[in-house]
């Protein structure tokens, strides 16, 4: 039996590892930019899709189906991002006689549309954030709603998430411009510019519940995750359990999430996202009908393998655990490592990763999609992978995360590692006192200025640049090429013509 992963990077590696554990052969697909990527070199089979741009490779349904046919793959897993929430792709797979590892196309469609999913939730008695019901193509409907619900409001692309096509609007005057930009961004990322609006809750927390289900009607809520550390709606750090959820709230969240899953007869792994207001009330946000980037924190604390469960469910097998057999132990924290320079407004930093040195030892897990020598292409979401620390409690998890960061080396491209190093030392983070707007405020401060060197550090640097080959003179030449590259990136970014895979 062969499984094709219609994706790249760390999630393709993650899914192939589950396949190996289950004795299923692995089929990788790749664009020209990814020929020597780890997800290709570990696979049993590999098929070229096309040139680097996503539309000609990872987003091309016909080429993906050809690759499956060529290698006689019978299973297809979409990963996250790219076509993971495309009902069209799910249908195309089924139409080609393939087993789509994920929920039904209908469930994807229902939960994919923010407005339809909210209607379903209202019907199922799940509280929803006040918002427009129909996806709007023009601004008038949104203005009407905003006047009723009161500003600030939140504009969202109805066909996708991950920070794309999202704008906060504080006052009526800004609505027009914000709508135009949000709609354009949504069009570029999901091919659908329709937008809907929601009441903006003040400093809420983002809590999501992991659902595992099979085709025999078994549905289990496998713990919650805290994902409030976000930068412009993009998750940066996730935790399990949430420091803000006590057992009675947890029970309510679980039952709401299960109602959501029941409402669409959900039969795979998925995540129901809620906004938790400071007063303890919570509102349905959306259901992600796919595997989440942050699934490892749930796996470490609840001792489950969610990817294996998805594949079993797709094959018609029952879930390998009932809710009674599950028990959480300890606390886990995940950091998403992006090839971006947090100190330069998260400017992307594509290029060749000259060195990857991963931390290890007790409580540390790395799900990573690059290795020394890998290229970080400019064409896709610049996430390199995730660092996950697990401890007996939140305090030990943070101590282990901090220790792992001291061992972590990525050279050749800038990364968000320095951000995490500063974060684990921040008193508010260490006390779990944060919410979805916290990080944006934190980043505005002078926190990421690199410290000045001590005398000892200056001696180390002097030895490096003097004895080493890369003394300043040569420094310019080889540095030049990389700085030239960054200039090229800046130019590209400015032109906003960057055809990005959707960001998760």
């Amino acid at each position: 039996m062969k499984l094709l992963v219609a994706n790249r990077g760390e999630i393709a590696v993650r899914i192939f590892r589950a396949c190996r554990d289950m004795g299923i052969e692995t089929v990788a697909v790749y664009s020209d930019a990814d020929r020597t990527a780890p997800h290709v070199t570990m696979a049993d089979y590999a098929v070229r899709l096309g040139p680097a741009p996503s539309i000609d490779s990872y987003l091309s349904i016909p080429r993906l189906l050809d690759a499956a046919k060529k290698t006689a793959a019978s299973l297809v897993h979409p990963g996250y991002g790219f076509l993971a929430e495309s009902a069209e792709f799910a249908r195309a797979c089924v139409g080609a006689g393939l087993t789509f590892v994920g929920p039904s196309a209908e469930a994807i469609e229902a939960m994919g549309s923010k407005t339809r999913s909210r209607e379903l939730m209202k019907a199922a008695g799940v509280p929803v954030v006040p918002g427009t019901t129909k996806p709007a193509r023009d601004v008038t409907k949104l203005a009407e709603f905003a006047r009723g619900a009161g500003y600030p409001i939140f504009l969202k692309a109805s066909a996708g998430g991950g920070g794309k096509g999202m704008r906060r609007v504080a006052r009526e005057e800004d609505l027009g411009a914000a709508f135009a930009r949000a709609s354009a961004e949504a069009k570029a990322s999901f091919g659908d510019g329709s937008i809907y609006a929601e009441k903006l809750l003040e400093s809420p927390r983002h809590i999501e519940v992991q659902i595992a289900a099979d085709q025999h009607g078994h549905r289990v809520a496998v713990g919650e995750r805290e994902c409030s550390i976000q930068r412009r709606q993009q998750k940066v750090v996730e935790e399990c359990p949430s420091p803000a959820v006590a057992s009675d709230l947890r029970a309510k969240l679980f039952s709401a999430a299960l109602s959501a899953a029941d409402a669409v007869g959900y039969d795979s792994c998925g995540t129901v996202e809620f906004l938790l207001a400071p007063d303890g009330s919570f509102y349905f946000l959306e259901m992600n009908t796919r595997l989440q980037v942050e699934h490892p924190v749930t796996e470490e604390v609840w001792g489950v393998d969610l990817v294996t469960e998805m594949i079993r469910a797709a094959l018609g097998e029952p879930l390998s655990f009932g809710s009674d057999e599950l028990a959480p132990h300890g606390h886990a924290i995940e950091c998403r490592i992006y090839a971006e320079d947090a100190a330069r407004n998260f400017a992307p930093s594509p290029g060749v990763v000259s060195l990857v040195r991963l931390p290890d030892g007790p409580g540390i897990r790395s799900d990573v999609g690059v290795e020394s020598g890998s290229t970080v292409p400019i064409d896709y979401d610049p996430m390199l992978g995730k660092l996950v620390a697990h401890g007996r409690d939140r305090k030990e998890a943070i101590a282990r995360l901090s220790r792992a960061l001291d061992e972590y080396e990525i050279a050749g491209v800038d990364t968000t590692l320095p951000l995490f190093r500063a974060l684990v030392r921040d008193p508010e983070f260490r006390d779990g006192r944060y919410h979805t707007q916290w990080l944006d405020g934190w980043l505005a401060g002078p926190r990421l200025e690199p410290r000045d060197a001590s005398v000892e550090e200056a001696i180390l640097a002097a030895v490096c640049v003097s004895i080493d080959g890369n003394s300043p003179r040569e420094g310019i030449l080889d540095r030049g090429s990389r700085w030239g590259q960054v200039a090229r990136v800046e130019a590209l970014r400015a032109a906003e013509t960057l055809p990005r895979g959707t960001r998760r």
């Binding site: 690199p450 410290r451 000045d452 001696i459 640097a461 004895i467 003394s471």
Partner: protein, 176 residues
């Protein structure tokens, strides 16, 4: 292979000289603000360096200089910045000339003067860009290191200069 490098470490507390000397690339003497220290240095296969100082303190990390004279150093996920100017690399360098006070800024390698921002008599603050000199396709702003008064300007935009050519002469600004 004997290595001898003179580096200027520009700290908030003022510039400090670091002289790096080694005959074997292993026993490295670094003469810095806290006097000479013998650093037992070893390069690792992945390009990082490990130094053990006389106190027993051990540091392992990597550092590379950037064209703007800054050196980017990393120890694990910790990024450390230091201005480690290498006179050789700074396309121009100030040197105290005979009559003290006056500082002459001379071209260190052949280049082309792209633009001049000062005229004799200007009073400049530390960090003020005096001129832009282009060499090896790199444009480099030549700045005043400390407050001074422009005594002489010896070059014009577009002019090519040889190594050692005098560009600007500054006089330290008398404390008023």
């Amino acid at each position: 292979m004997t290595i001898r490098r003179r580096l200027v470490w520009r700290r908030k507390e003022g510039p400090a000289e670091l002289t790096v000397e080694s005959r074997d690339g292993r026993k490295v003497t670094v003469d810095g603000p806290a006097g000479p220290a013998l650093a037992d240095s070893a390069k690792l296969a992945d390009g990082r360096w490990s130094v053990i100082l006389p106190s027993g303190r051990q540091l392992t990390g990597r550092a590379a200089s950037r064209p703007d004279g800054r050196v980017e150093a990393w120890i694990g996920a910790r990024r450390i910045h230091l201005e480690l100017a290498d006179p050789l690399r700074d396309l121009a360098a100030e040197s105290e000339n005979a009559d003290g006070g006056a500082m002459e800024i001379r071209a260190q390698i052949p280049g082309r003067v792209v633009e001049v921002f000062v005229v004799p008599g200007d009073v400049v603050a530390a960090g003020k860009t005096l001129l832009v000199l282009e060499a090896m396709k790199m444009q480099n702003e030549i700045r005043a290191d400390s407050p001074a008064r422009v005594a002489k300007v010896e070059c014009v935009a577009g002019q090519t200069v040889e190594t050692g050519a005098l560009l600007v002469r500054l006089e330290s600004e008398p404390v008023v």
